[in-house]
Amino acid sequence: MTMSYLRGLTLGAAATLALCAAPALALDLQFYFPVAVGGGAAKTIGELTDAYMAQHPDVKIEPVYTGSYVDTIAKAMTAAKGGNPPQLAVIGAAEMFNLIGEDVIAPFDDYVSDADKAAWFGGFYPAFMENSQAFGKTWGIPFQRSTPVMYWNKEAFRKAGLDPEHAPASWDEMVEMARKLTVKDASGQVTQWGVRIPTAGLPYWLYQGVAIANDAILASADGKTTAFNSPEAIEAAQKLVDLTTAQGVMEKGTLDWGATPKAFFEGNAAMIWTTTGNLTNITQNAPFPFGVAFLPAIKHFGAPTGGGNFYLFKDSTDEEKKASVDFVKWMTAPEQAAKWTMATGYVAPRAEDWDTPALKDYVAKVPGALVAREQLQYAKAELTVYQNAQITQILNSALEAIMTGQAEPKAALDEAQAKADAILKAYR
């Protein structure tokens, strides 16, 4: 009786000691992350952080799933304004100026050696760094990055008498093929549309796939000026709406983003534009052979980048920041990046990632994954400005007005530019 009591006491004391000692030794880091694609994204994040903690027993990382991108920035911003931010978060790359403007993030530079700056920062694809660096500092580290691509239904191409192995390379060729791919029944109702470029909710992203190819850059590098109504930007919007009106190869009105892969599977649209992040979904669910291609060229190829970056929050100790940077460096190392890309379909953001055996095998099985990487050389940053959500919403509304026939491209984009100017004026 006394023996077991004594043993219990010793065990209890040991456990208490261990419990007290652990927090003193370990550094606690909180890390917010969004999930914007289906599949095992959240599970993979958990596995990666566990693997890191196994190698680094002195650091304890708590990954917190915070919903969509919009939810994540809302939660991180609320936490930061309440004086209790996470040490780290993955947030939309386009939010960079917003986070700088609100003074809640710190640049990575102060916690990275000069040699590392060249090797680490310099190793990412330049298109991804465009909205990760500003004022000579690096504010975001590319992690779950994407770009839109075109998927085409090879069976529909064959039925329309087109070469099923040849995707349209230029806009005009796409329109030409879309005409042949638009099928009507006896009563004149369209049963298959040539192309579907979803423009409901967040039209600004795919619109930039047209705009960038047409030489329209929508925002200045300092995030303080937009150019929504340049002749090239107006022409790009005209091209988009012409698909539904003059050319009649796309359904009129705005089209839902989330239902677009379904429209593809159902044979409702023979070509679709959507994110490379849908590659795994489409590979698993398309009931016909399909191809993945660049967005068609106008003056040249072009596409926006998208997705999220790692950000370092300002309101934390130097020690925590150093540990956070270490973790981010590990997460973006080739082996981890390869795992992440295969689990989600995001584009591995560094050239060296693609030399790993894991990704080489993956690319051999899913050749479509390479298309997104190849397209990066033509890609530019998506719209990234101060007050990003509001400015994006202004552009979205203008594009929706254009697509639903409520306004002419020039009038709508002139108005959007004036509204954006009124807001960004304060930052100049």
Binding site: D103, S187, A200, T254, A259, N268, Q387, T404, A407
Partner: protein, 289 residues
């Protein structure tokens, strides 16, 4: 007497504390915030007088959201209440499969709106959506109800009616069951037909329920925006922007907290006036037993 007063106050205190901390305090702070600018980073909030209210009056999206909301309320309130009453009358009578029908009518209420909104998106898809497939059976062409500025608001209003009617039905059903059979039998003995019984006996006895349901329906018409978030994001071109959704956008996407506070204040005042009016005006017409 003094002891009693003290006891009363002591009993009220916990509830009063909660109300002050979570309701009245925030309301006051919200109203105060409307007179300041939004703090940004190192820029603290500055006194702005009535600037936020001037901005609101000049903001076309606010007026559009208000117009949308009035139309949305005008569509969803009578439609969901009317449908609820019809459904309640239907499942109140004796019939086969009554339990099943009651459950079917009530199911939409139990489902989370954000989840069913995702399903409704697919119902509305042009070409391959459920609605267009049914239209196809009758040789009708495809529609893009969510993707056109002139139909999108009706499309999201239909989802709200579908969601709410079953909930209101429960209240009507309970009220119908509470009507004494003797009154209806008496009316029948007097030779009244079904329509007369409904108009002269049932409907007057349902008025307290109607008032309650109406107040709820009005509040929901301004409060229930989950499906807007999921289905349209207020688009196309703000065609489905409702006040509460716009308020969420301004507050939690644009982070213009001062302007969001202004919108909140206006919304609270409008809703307060409407419900006071409802009680004062309708109370006279309500028949309490």
């Amino acid at each position: 007497m003094r002891r009693q007063t003290l006891t009363a106050w002591a009993l009220l205190l916990p509830a009063a504390c909660l109300l002050v901390v979570f309701t009245h305090g925030p309301v006051l702070r919200t109203v105060l915030a409307t007179f300041y600018t939004t703090p940004h980073g190192r820029l603290p909030a500055k006194f702005a007088g009535f600037d936020n209210y001037a901005h609101l009056i000049a903001d076309p999206i606010f007026w559009q959201a208000l117009r949308n909301n009035l139309l949305y309320a005008g569509l969803t309130i009578p439609a969901s209440m009317g449908l609820a009453l019809v459904m309640a009358l239907l499942v109140n009578g004796r019939m086969r499969g009554r339990g099943f029908l009651r459950m079917a009518f009530f199911t939409p209420t139990v489902l989370p709106l954000i989840a069913v909104a995702n399903i409704w998106i697919f119902f509305y898809q042009p070409g391959f959506g459920l609605i267009d497939q049914i239209r196809g059976l009758f040789g009708l062409g495809a529609t893009n109800l969510l993707g056109q500025g002139d139909s999108a608001l009706y499309a999201v209003a239909a989802v709200a009616v579908w969601k709410e009617a079953g909930f209101f039905m429960i209240f009507y059903l309970a009220a119908l069951q509470a009507i004494p059979q003797s009154l209806i039998e008496a009316a029948r003995l007097e030779g009244a037909n079904a329509l007369q019984i409904f108009r002269r006996v049932i409907w007057p006895l349902l008025t307290p329920t109607t008032l309650f349901v109406a107040v709820n329906a009005v509040v929901n018409a301004f409060r229930l925006v989950d499906h807007i978030y999921q289905m349209t994001g207020g688009g196309p071109n703000n065609a489905t922007a409702l006040l509460f959704y716009y308020l969420y956008q301004v507050g939690f996407q644009f982070w213009d907290t001062a302007y969001a506070a202004t919108l909140t204040t206006v919304l609270v005042v409008v809703l307060g006036l409407v419900s006071v009016g409802q009680f004062l005006f309708l109370d006279r017409k309500v028949h309490y037993q």
